[in-house]
């Protein structure tokens, strides 16, 4: 489909519609962030992660309290895990996957089902590019997993945890998707990259997973 770059203030629809990255004024819908327009659809190119109920996200424990933990979820809003919901303990800096149970009117999230992630690599991309990482019906993610043998957990908030297999190659592919998101023929280029790179280093990392005490964000 023909795509077109549209900027804040541009008309998105002549009727009031509730869409991501848009606002309604005078009965019409306008774009509020840099977006692509494809037919009726508006694809935001920029944006901040706003937690929604049911999202699976990756957080970093930022503070311990009597009542639980404060978690950094790559959003402009605070979120927490209640001590009542969990049995295990965490330390500040631990990386956890969790599910958003509740979000209040000021976007403060309550997280449940935290699982500590370890022995892998954490990267951070823009949350608006997460659908691109996953691909249609998960095709892009499946492609990377197939070539690298990695386990990849993608959080809705733009954090991605990669474990096992060829971590370096997975990260390379993920960052390439992130930087070239929304360009044409991306799947083919990623496939090519994976093919070339995986031949260079056959099975090199499969036997020795990179163990890290504390995941560092690398770009």
């Amino acid at each position: 489909m023909e795509k077109q770059l549209i900027l804040p203030g541009a008309l998105a629809a002549t009727s009031p519609r509730r869409m991501d990255g848009c606002y309604v004024d005078d009965g019409k819908t306008f774009v509020s962030v840099v977006s692509l327009k494809a037919g009726d659809k508006i694809i935001p190119l920029k944006g901040h992660y706003i937690p929604r109920i049911g999202d699976y996200i990756i957080g970093i424990i930022s503070e311990e309290r009597f009542s639980g933990y404060e978690v950094d979820i790559n959003a402009p809003f605070p979120s927490s895990i209640s001590a009542r919901d969990i049995r295990e303990t965490f330390q500040v800096g631990d990386v956890v996957s969790a599910k958003v149970r509740m979000v209040d009117e000021v976007h403060t999230a309550q997280l449940v089902e935290p699982r500590k992630l370890y022995a892998g690599r954490l990267i951070e991309i823009e949350s608006v590019k997460v659908p691109r990482i996953i691909g249609r019906n998960g095709s892009m993610l499946a492609l990377i997993k197939e070539y690298t043998g990695s386990d990849i957990f993608v959080g809705k908030n733009g954090r991605i945890y990669t474990k096992n297999g060829d971590i370096a190659l997975s990260v390379m592919a993920l960052l390439k998707i992130s930087s070239e998101a929304h360009t044409s023929g991306l799947t083919d280029r990623i496939k090519e990259l994976l093919e070339v790179e995986s031949k260079k280093s056959p099975q090199n990392n499969a036997a020795k997973p990179a163990v890290q005490e504390r995941p560092t964000e690398q770009y």
Partner: protein
Amino acid sequence: MAEEETAAMASGKVPKKLIQNGIRNDGRTPADLRNLKITVGVLKKASGSALIEWGKNRILAGVYGPREVFPKHQMNPNKAIINCRYAMVPFSSLEEHGRFGPNRRAIEIGKVGKHVFENAILTEQFPKTMIDINIDVLQSDGGTRVAGIVAASLALVDAGIPMRDIPSGVSVGKVDGTLVADLDKTEDNLGQSDMPVIFSPRTWDILLFQMDGMLTKKEIMDGIDLCKVATQKVHEVQVAALEAKYGAAAAGDDDSQEESGA
């Protein structure tokens, strides 16, 4: 002002008349703008940034946030608060500007800038947060407040902060009895009046309107019309700057992406 004028005249840099035969000091016609170039995304650590080169002006704008409010008592549970800081770096100009630290003028420009962006940003989408806008004038030659706001608007778009529109504008003024657009420093200092205006180009709502010197009611109305035409040109440059950074994404049709759960 009088001292400046005599000093400028004595140095021989300024002709006695600023407009001769309808041509301004620097060769422009009254409606012409100075050369304008904007680059988006020049700072790596900022959420969004822009560098504007407008005539001899060089202004860097950086946006940080939305992020946790500090100091905490300023927090607003209904919307994001905007902090706008305007500063002239010490080497930006002649000695009367750019001494270290904020002065009366810098605080004023920060304040009016804040009001522009409070009306442009959809602040209610980010309750309990703050957005910091930094405008640093590296080299100044008149019209830095509009140039700074024009740059900061793009920095905000670059940061992905939702906005109603991209604020845009230019200053107009009266020099040698003629209404002119985009005054430079000599015209600003030696002219009769200077009127910076920032619009929201979608609706032509006025977000900032200030005036130095005197203009009649008719001159103001004519000035605003002149300003709208000039603002249109500035807005085109803003759009081009954003397309230069984000246009690649729209280059072709891609394997469209459907959301599926993580």
